[in-house]
Symmetry: C2
Subunit: 137 residues, 2 copies
């Protein structure tokens, strides 16, 4: 079962709640908000457990947060890596100013921005410059 593998890989204990919530993410095309998960009446998980599970998943790198402007946070599965020449989503690229390598941050989604009237977006790119993990220690 895929969910169990993900949990074990993350070093988390395998529980019903976690498997169920993970399953929702795998089944869902897009990101989910806390309310989406809780609302999913097919499941019967305490509200508090959902909060804690989402937090644990974020901390474990299983899901990531997508900011919104409506007082909710969206969560989406992190992808393992960037498949060459095959972009799944619009994601952030990180350019290290020290080693000059560009990392494909496949698990960091480009957040939505509200554009002024009249500007119709087709594609969004986000580039972050800084120092990468290899150049700092």
């Amino acid at each position: 079962m895929q969910q169990e593998a993900v949990l074990k890989k993350a070093g988390l204990s395998v529980t019903e709640s976690r498997k169920t919530i993970l399953e929702l993410f795998f089944a869902s095309e897009g990101a989910l908000a806390h309310a989406d998960i809780e609302k999913h009446s097919s499941i019967n998980i305490d509200r508090v457990t959902v909060y804690r599970t989402l937090q644990t998943f974020v901390e474990s790198g299983i899901i990531h947060q997508i900011p919104t402007t409506d007082n909710t946070i969206l969560y989406a599965l992190c992808k393992d890596s960037c498949e060459a020449g095959h972009h799944h989503d619009e994601h952030v690229h990180f350019i290290c100013v020290s080693c000059n390598k560009t990392n494909c941050l496949d698990d960091v989604m480009v957040p939505m921005v509200k554009l002024p009237k009249g500007f119709l977006p087709i594609q969004t790119a986000m580039i972050v410059k800084g120092t990468c993990i290899d150049c700092r220690n």
Copy 2:
């Protein structure tokens, strides 16, 4: 007074609360959250009025929202235009795929993104490609 001019230009009535809140934005370098404004003990505006004022300002185009991943929305003043050679903030650039002009969207801030551990951001750029207001009608 600058605040009054902004309010009148937006077609809003000029009230003490609105002038005070606008003043906070003018005085502040960065964006403000609802809590920041309410916390500002120098002012004495009801919590509800702050909510309604922020909403009105957003709808009137005086301020705009910046999404975050901590269940708060940041608000920042919209700037009229991009002053040549003088960048106030990190803001979004819009490249029109039709006329190829690049617009400086000074009132669209680059939202924060949560990077994986180890990546230390210094600067963030956001480029949106699409069709601009001049090329669509």
